[in-house]
């Protein structure tokens, strides 16, 4: 590894230690690492957005004569909406910036209505409608838990009816199902985070200090 390679390893190691030092308490090293991280990432994303949006999605589109005139006009709509956002800098015409916001919010709601209805409602119901008396015992038990868990979970998310009596019982069973699922998910995610930590330690003790061959 050359000089710059070694320099990179040392820099990464010191920054890693700086961030980890936060576990002890807030300190100068952490503050320095935080400032570097925030500053560099903000600058990085500025450049990414410039090339991805202003250059690729706007400049290349409007100057591409292979496209139809309509296809070359469309990017101007986005550009004008973007410029309208900058009107916030001027007090008198600041209200103009609400238009692009309204456009984004409205378009988002319309676009996602179908997607969420299909994937979060119809598909989930279709997957829950399964036979509970057919198959071997393991299948019957598994299917029963799927149906009961979904049913009771859905009851928990009823807001316009008081949760008492049988309805309340189903709701309480529903929250139990949710909590057991969360517990399993928690354990699974913690294990995956452990692998991230092992990766960092491997870098520190292996790549940097050379103690792990």
């Amino acid at each position: 590894m050359g000089f710059w390679g070694q320099f990179g390893v040392w820099l990464a190691a010191l920054l890693t230690i700086g961030i980890i030092s936060f576990l002890y308490k807030d300190n100068f090293l952490y503050k320095a690492c935080e400032a570097i991280f925030v500053g560099i990432s903000a600058g990085y994303w500025f450049i990414v957005y410039y090339w991805d949006n202003l250059y690729k999605k706007f400049y290349l589109q409007v100057t591409n004569h292979d496209l139809t005139s309509w296809e070359r006009i469309i990017p101007w709509v986005g550009f004008i909406l973007g410029v309208m956002m900058l009107s916030r800098l001027f007090e008198k015409i600041g209200w103009l910036s609400r238009w692009p916001l309204a456009f984004i919010v409205g378009a988002t709601a319309g676009l996602y209505m179908m997607i969420y209805f299909v994937s979060n409602a119809m598909a989930q119901v279709a997957s829950t409608i399964i036979p509970v008396f057919i198959g071997d015992w393991a299948t019957i038990i598994a299917n029963f838990f799927i149906v009961a868990g979904t049913f009771c979970g859905l009851v928990y998310f009823f807001f316009s009816k008081e949760h008492k009596g049988a309805f309340g019982l189903a709701s309480r069973v529903g929250i139990w199902f949710l909590m057991i699922t969360f517990g399993a998910s928690f354990g699974y995610t913690v294990m995956s985070r452990m692998s991230l930590m092992i990766g960092r330690l491997d870098f520190l003790f292996g790549t940097w200090l050379g103690m792990i061959k």
Binding site: A42, V105, Y116, V125
Partner: protein, 418 residues
């Protein structure tokens, strides 16, 4: 220079001999000139193999425009070649041309057992001719030893057209109509003065207390709206809740800080907080730096928020919106400084962390119900009631469906998206 001298003079003769030997070896191995045409053994007659292996073409070929789409797709289907059973078909090749007489170009293939192909590169409104061929071959080291095809007749022309409605998605259309109809009906009912019950949502019940705690302690409130942009419904719901939280804070004259990771969220959050201060008659108390942009980077944002928490030690922290892997990093730091924390997200993978590290958690749809619960606006209340109606329909459908499926009557297909 004479030819003899070139080949047999002292140095050049050795070179020439080596060169000739090298060429001969290459020719024998076929590595230079035989790459596309493998060397045939004298005992084999490939023409006879090709003739004997030529499969019969597939039968009953049908070519039609894909119904209920935006155009550009033509469906080709066939029945297997009679030679498929004999193992003489390895693939089916699909050829396309704009003219009946050709030239035909291969546009796709399908393995044996699959008897349809979707040509999704057919230009809208252009007539295309198709033929399907049964394909038999032998390969060695990735190169064809021989190949043989049985081509069908030419079918067409077929044009792809666009349709307004996809009849296969009628179930979704009915579902949307029922749900939207219920929501609109309940919104009108709420507007006409009908009152609706909403059950208590623990996390939301505590919002006012949490803001009051910050006021009593003389410390600030932090509101973290997640790391997604305004094109996420969770961020939209978060902004509505921010408006209510900021109103409580402004009423109590308690500072609320909103560090954000997206420029559009910053603009929206600024509007919400400014409006909240104006609504309670304290527009001058609002400071521009209360809502500030940090960085778009996920962990850069998490590092910065952690730093702000430990240095400013807010009394109350709200984490409401779309969160990812940074959720526990932020929530655990908030917990370590002793702040009361109310979180809410619809990200299933992050909910466990909020449940573990926060005092109150809005689980999934509670996040969306919270804005109606807080504001008690007829529009939001009616919408919530309409959504509950939709859930009731689905619950009934599940019960009926499970009973029918258990008796072998298919029902789940109605809810499947095509």
């Amino acid at each position: 220079m004479k030819l003899n001298n070139l080949f047999f003079s002292s140095n050049s003769s050795r070179f020439s001999l080596i060169f000739l030997l090298f060429i001969m070896i290459l020719l024998i191995n076929g590595s230079v000139f035989g790459q596309d045409k493998p060397v045939l053994s004298d005992s084999l007659n490939y023409d006879s193999i090709i003739t004997a292996s030529k499969p019969l073409p597939p039968v009953d070929i049908r070519v039609k425009d894909e119904p209920g789409d935006a155009g550009g797709v033509i469906d080709i289907s066939w029945k297997p070649s009679p030679d498929e059973k004999n193992g003489k078909v390895k693939e089916y090749l699909i050829f396309r041309s704009k003219s009946k007489s050709g030239p035909f170009k291969e546009v796709g293939n399908s393995t044996v057992g699959v008897t349809s192909y979707m040509d999704n590169k057919a230009d809208l409104g252009v007539g295309f001719y198709y033929k399907v061929a049964s394909f038999n071959f032998a390969k060695e080291n990735g190169n064809y030893l021989w190949k043989s095809m049985g081509e069908s007749e030419v079918y067409g022309p077929v044009k792809s057209t666009a349709q307004w409605f996809n009849i296969k998605r009628l179930n979704i259309f009915i579902g949307i109509i029922v749900l939207c109809g219920a929501i609109i009906y309940f919104i009108f009912a709420a507007k006409s003065g009908k009152s609706f019950y909403i059950r208590k949502i623990a996390g939301i019940e505590e919002v006012e207390n949490a803001v009051g705690r910050a006021t009593e302690m003389g410390r600030s409130i932090y509101y973290i709206p997640g790391i997604n942009d305004m094109d996420d419904v969770q961020t939209l719901a978060s902004m509505t809740i921010l408006g209510r939280v900021a109103t409580f804070a402004a009423e109590n004259d308690t500072r609320i800080d909103v560090p954000v990771s997206r420029s559009l969220v910053m603009v929206t959050a600024k509007e919400m907080v400014r409006e909240a201060y104006s609504k309670v008659g304290r527009p001058d108390s609002f400071r521009e730096d209360q809502v500030r942009y940090l960085t778009d980077d996920q962990f850069g944002y998490a590092a910065a928020v952690d730093g702000l928490f430990v240095r400013e030690k807010p009394a109350t922290i709200f984490m409401i919106g779309a969160f990812f892997a940074e959720s526990l990093i932020i929530a655990e730091t908030g917990n370590s400084i002793g702040a009361i924390q109310i979180a809410g997200t619809a990200m299933p993978a992050q909910l466990p962390f909020f449940v573990a590290a926060c005092d109150y958690t809005l689980i999934g749809e509670e996040l969306f119900a919270a804005s109606a619960y807080l504001s008690r606006e007829p529009k939001l209340l009616g919408s919530l009631k309409g959504q509950d109606f939709g859930k009731a329909v689905f619950l009934i459908a599940i019960i009926i469906g499970v009973i029918l499926e258990s008796f072998g009557i298919p029902f789940s297909k109605f809810f499947m998206a095509h």
